[in-house]
C-alpha cells in the first residue's frame, strides 16, 4: 500500500507547536527544588510525542534532537537524575530551537544550525556525564557465516500464552509465508482431565521451516512471546536444496522505509498561524443545531408562501415564522462569531517566559500573575494585541518595577508582581496590565515634555494629563535607551495599534504603588457597535466607542478663529468642530453649528466635535472592507449594509479630522 505520509505533516506541526507551548509553560511552572511528578511527566510526554511523530513522518533532525531531550527527561522522571536550574535553561533553549526547526519545516525556511549543534553537544555532554544513562542494548548476533537453508524450531508454548491474545496458529501462518513449514504437535504435557483449564496452553510443537532466512527473521515471529515460551532454534543444512525462491524479502522489515518527506514535499503553508483554527466540536454542534432550526423555519415559511391567499391566520403564522427567523439568525451569527473566539491564554502563554527572561536580564525579581485566561476574544484581535501587550509588559519590567535593593529600601517585598488580567465588560474585552512598581514619575515626565516643547514652560497639568503625555509620539523618559524599551517609538505606537482595533487604552498610576494600564477592545473586528447619524440624505456610522457625548451648542458658546475654523466651548475646554458635510461635500440641513448636533468624539485622546444633522439609532453593524470591495477612501474606515439594503459608510475619525485639515485641536485653541 502506498500511503503518502506528508499528508499528516501539517497536523504534526500543529501539535508539535502546541506540545512545545505545553513544555514551555510547564517548565516555567516547575518548582526546581520539589518538582511535581505530573509536571515532569507532562513535559516528558510532549517531548516524547514530538520525537515519535518526527521520526515517523521523517523529520530526522527534529527526531534526533528530541531523542536527547527525551532521554534526559526520562532520567529525571525515573529519579535517576536530579532536576537543576541548568536543566530548565537547557530545556527552554531546546524548546526555542525546536520551535525554530518546526517553523523552518513549515515554511521551508532555515533554522539556527549553530545553535542546534551547540545545544545538541551540551545535551550529549550532560547525558554522557552520568554513567547511569542507559546505553542502547543491541542484541546483535554475529552474522552467520553460512546462511542455512532452513530451521528446526522447538516451540514449547507458555501456559498463559493465549491469555495475552497470542495465538501459535498465527505465528505458524507467519512462518509459512517464509517457506515450507512442517508442523508436528506434541501433546504429552496435557494434564489429566480434571486439572484441565481450557484457557491455558499445554502444547508444544516441532517445526521445520525450509527457507533461506536468517535467525533474526525467524526469531522475530516469536519476539512477543520469547520470554515466556521455551524456543530452541537449530539451523538446517540440507543436502538437497529446497528450490523455493527466497521469500524472505516479503517480510515487512526488509522493505525500505517509506521515503522521508523532505522539505520540498511538505505542503506549503503561508502564514501558518492564521491559516487554520481549531474549533471545539461543541461549537460546531451548536452551529449544526442552529442550521437545523433555520431549515425548519424555512420550511414553515415556504408552506405559507405556497398558499394562494394569505388570511389572518396565515398572517399570524407568517409573523411568528419571521420572528423565529430573526431569532435564529441572531443565534447563528453569535455561534459563527464563537468559532473565531479563542481564549486569551493563547496570548498570555508567552508572558511567563518573557517575564522570566527579561527579569533575569535586568536582575529584577518578578512574579507574573495571570487572571481570566479563559476569557475569549476574536482570533484576529488576539493576534494583533500580542505585540502591544509585549511592549507594555516590557515597559512595566524595565521602567515600572524597581530593583530588589530599591524595593527593600522602600519596605516592599523584593519580588515585584506583574498581573495580566482579562475580563468581559459590556461588548468589550478589558485587558489590564498591573505592576506594583514605582509608578510614573510625573515630575520627570513633565520636565521631559517641557524640554521637548510638548508642554508650555509655565503650563500646569493635572497628574492625569501628565500621564497622557507618554502616549505622545516621540516621547521617552528612559535615561538610557535600553535594549528592552525606551526607543521613543513606544507608547504612541501601542496606542495607535489599539486604536486601529477600535479599542482604547488608559493609564493610571500611583507614585510608589505601581501602575495599571487598561486596554479595552471590541470582542471582534467583524462587528462594530455603531451610532447612525444623518447628514443631509446620507447615513453614516460612527463607532460608539469613540463618542463621548452629543449636544446642541448655543450660539454664545461658538467662537470663530481666523480661516473659518470654529471652536465650541464645552465646560473648560475649547474643541474644534469638523463640519462633516463640508468635508464630504454633502447638502446638509445644518450648515452652521447652532442648527445641528455636535457629536464629541475622541481623536487620539483629543476631543473633536463633528457637526451632523441628526442622530439615528445605535446598532451593531457588520463591517465590510472598502479596500476589498471598492477602493480606499480617506476618512472612511469601512462600510456596512443597513436593514433596508442601503450602504452606510463608517467614519474613521482620525482620517476625517486629517481631511478637514485640523492637525491638532490644541494648537488652534492655544
Amino acid at each position: 500500500m502506498d500511503i503518502d505520509l506528508s499528508q499528516f505533516s501539517q497536523v504534526f506541526f500543529e501539535e508539535s507547536i502546541e506540545g512545545l507551548a505545553v513544555m514551555e509553560s510547564e517548565l516555567l511552572k516547575l518548582d526546581i527544588a520539589a518538582p511535581e511528578p505530573e509536571t515532569i511527566n507532562t513535559i516528558f510526554r510532549a517531548a516524547h510525542s514530538i520525537k515519535g511523530g518526527s521520526a515517523t513522518f521523517g523529520f530526522t533532525s527534529v527526531a534526533n534532537f528530541t531523542h536527547l531531550l527525551e532521554t534526559l527527561l526520562d532520567q529525571i522522571r525515573d529519579g535517576q537524575r536530579q532536576m537543576t536550574a541548568e536543566h530548565v535553561d537547557l530545556l527552554l533553549a531546546s524548546v526555542d530551537l525546536l520551535r525554530g526547526m518546526i517553523d523552518a519545516l513549515m515554511n521551508k525556511g532555515d533554522y539556527d544550525n549553530d545553535k542546534a549543534q551547540q545545544l545538541q553537544q551540551r545535551l550529549s555532554k550532560l547525558l554522557a556525564e552520568d554513567a547511569k544513562s542507559p546505553t542502547k542494548q543491541v542484541d546483535a548476533l554475529p552474522p552467520a557465516e553460512e546462511q542455512p537453508n532452513g530451521w528446526q524450531i522447538e516451540f514449547v508454548a507458555g501456559v498463559d500464552i493465549l491469555r495475552c491474545g497470542n495465538d501459535p496458529q498465527l505465528m505458524f501462518a507467519e512462518l509459512r509465508e517464509k517457506g515450507e513449514l512442517d508442523v508436528r504437535l506434541q501433546a504429552s504435557q496435557l494434564p489429566p482431565w480434571h486439572d484441565f483449564d481450557p484457557e491455558s496452553c499445554y502444547l508444544s510443537w516441532q517445526l521445520t521451516l525450509h527457507a533461506n532466512v536468517s535467525l533474526d527473521e525467524v526469531k522475530e515471529v516469536f519476539e512477543w512471546v520469547e520470554d515466556e515460551c521455551q524456543i530452541r532454534y537449530q539451523p538446517l543444512f540440507e543436502a538437497e536444496p529446497t528450490t523455493e525462491a527466497p521469500i524472505a524479502e516479503d517480510t515487512a522489515v526488509d522493505k525500505p522505509l517509506v521515503k522521508a518527506p523532505d522539505l520540498k514535499s511538505v505542503p506549503q503553508n503561508k502564514g501558518n498561524e492564521s491559516s487554520s483554527i481549531r474549533v471545539s466540536t461543541e461549537k460546531i454542534d451548536m452551529l449544526i443545531n442552529m442550521v437545523g432550526e433555520l431549515v425548519i423555519t424555512q420550511a414553515m415559511l415556504g408552506q405559507i408562501g405556497r398558499q394562494d391567499e394569505i388570511g389572518p391566520e396565515s398572517m399570524l403564522l407568517l409573523q411568528q415564522g419571521l420572528e423565529q427567523l430573526a431569532s435564529h439568525t441572531r443565534d447563528l451569527q453569535e455561534s459563527v462569531m464563537q468559532i473565531r473566539m479563542l481564549p486569551i491564554s493563547f496570548a498570555f502563554n508567552r508572558f511567563p517566559r518573557l517575564v522570566r527572561d527579561i527579569g533575569q536580564q535586568l536582575n529584577k525579581k518578578v512574579e507574573l500573575e495571570l487572571k481570566g485566561e479563559d476569557t475569549e476574544l476574536d482570533k484576529t484581535v488576539l493576534e494583533k494585541i500580542v505585540d502591544p501587550m509585549v511592549h507594555l509588559v516590557r515597559n512595566s519590567l524595565d521602567h515600572g518595577l524597581e530593583s530588589p535593593e530599591t524595593r527593600r529600601k522602600f519596605g516592599k517585598a523584593e519580588t515585584g508582581t506583574i498581573t495580566l488580567n482579562a475580563f468581559h465588560q459590556g461588548g468589550n474585552i478589558v485587558i489590564e496590565i498591573t505592576d506594583d512598581g514605582a509608578g510614573l514619575n510625573t515630575a520627570k515626565i513633565l520636565a521631559k515634555a517641557r524640554e521637548k516643547g510638548l508642554v508650555g514652560a509655565d503650563e500646569e497639568l493635572s497628574d492625569e494629563a501628565i500621564h497622557q503625555l507618554i502616549f505622545k509620539p516621540g516621547f521617552s523618559t528612559a535615561d538610557a535607551v535600553s535594549d528592552l524599551s525606551g526607543r521613543g517609538v513606544g507608547m504612541d505606537v501601542v496606542k495607535r495599534n489599539i486604536h486601529e482595533l477600535n479599542g482604547s487604552i488608559e493609564l493610571s498610576s500611583q507614585p510608589g504603588k505601581g501602575s495599571r494600564i487598561t486596554i479595552r477592545l471590541p470582542l471582534t473586528l467583524a462587528i462594530l457597535d455603531g451610532q447612525l447619524v444623518r447628514i443631509g440624505r446620507h447615513i453614516y456610522v460612527v463607532p460608539l466607542v469613540s463618542i463621548y457625548e452629543s449636544l446642541q451648542v448655543a450660539p454664545s458658546r461658538i467662537n470663530r478663529l481666523g480661516e473659518g475654523q470654529e471652536l465650541i466651548r464645552l465646560r473648560d475646554e475649547y474643541l474644534p468642530v469638523v463640519k462633516v458635510h463640508q468635508v464630504f461635500n454633502h447638502d446638509a440641513e445644518a450648515r452652521e453649528i447652532k442648527d445641528g448636533l455636535v457629536m464629541v468624539v475622541d481623536n487620539s485622546n483629543e476631543k473633536v466635535g463633528l457637526l451632523v444633522d441628526e442622530l439615528l439609532a445605535q446598532q451593531q453593524v457588520v463591517i465590510k472592507s472598502l479596500e476589498d470591495n471598492y477602493t480606499r477612501i480617506p476618512g472612511i474606515s469601512g462600510a456596512t449594509i443597513l436593514g433596508d439594503g442601503t450602504v452606510a459608510l463608517i467614519i474613521d475619525v482620525a482620517g476625517l479630522v486629517n481631511l478637514a485639515g485640523l492637525r491638532n485641536g490644541k494648537e488652534h485653541a492655544a
Binding site: 505520509l5 515519535g52 521520526a55 515517523t56 491469555r163 497470542n166 507467519e174 484457557e199 522489515v253 517509506v258
Partner: protein, 120 residues
C-alpha cells in the same frame, strides 16, 4: 470488517494509524487516551486494540491491564506502540497482558504487517 480501536494522544500519529488501517479496509475507532479508550471498548467490541504507551489521564499500560480484565477482551490482541528505548515498557506491557508491540517509528507497511500478524 474487523474492528480496530486506535489509541494515541498525538493527533498526527492517530491520524496516520487510522488512515492506514482504514485504507486497508479495517473499521477504525480512535481514542485520545486510555480512559476514553476503555469507555469506548466497553460500549462496543473490537477485534484489536492498538495503544500508545505515554498518554495523559490513563497511560497505555494501565489501559491494557484494565482491558485484559474485561471478559470481552480476555483473548483480544492488544498491541502497544513503544519506542526502541522502551525495553522496560515492553516487559511492563507484557506483564499487563499486552499481546505485543510495534516499535516507533514505523511506517504504514510495518503497521499493517503487524496487524495482520495478530488478526490473521
Amino acid at each position: 470488517m474487523k474492528k480496530i480501536l486506535a489509541v494515541d494522544d498525538s493527533a498526527s500519529m492517530r491520524q496516520m494509524v487510522g488512515f492506514t488501517l482504514k485504507t486497508a479496509g479495517f473499521d477504525v475507532t480512535e481514542a485520545t487516551n486510555g480512559d476514553e479508550a476503555l469507555k469506548v471498548a466497553q460500549s462496543k467490541n473490537f477485534d484489536l486494540v492498538i495503544s500508545d504507551v505515554n498518554m495523559p489521564v490513563m497511560d497505555g499500560i494501565t489501559l491494557i491491564r484494565n482491558l485484559r480484565n474485561l471478559p470481552a477482551y480476555k483473548f483480544t490482541p492488544l498491541l502497544m506502540l513503544t519506542t526502541e528505548s522502551g525495553g522496560d515498557k515492553k516487559q511492563e506491557g507484557r506483564a499487563a497482558g499486552a499481546t505485543g508491540w510495534i516499535v516507533k517509528p514505523f511506517n504504514p507497511e510495518q503497521l499493517l504487517a503487524t496487524v495482520r500478524k495478530v488478526l490473521g
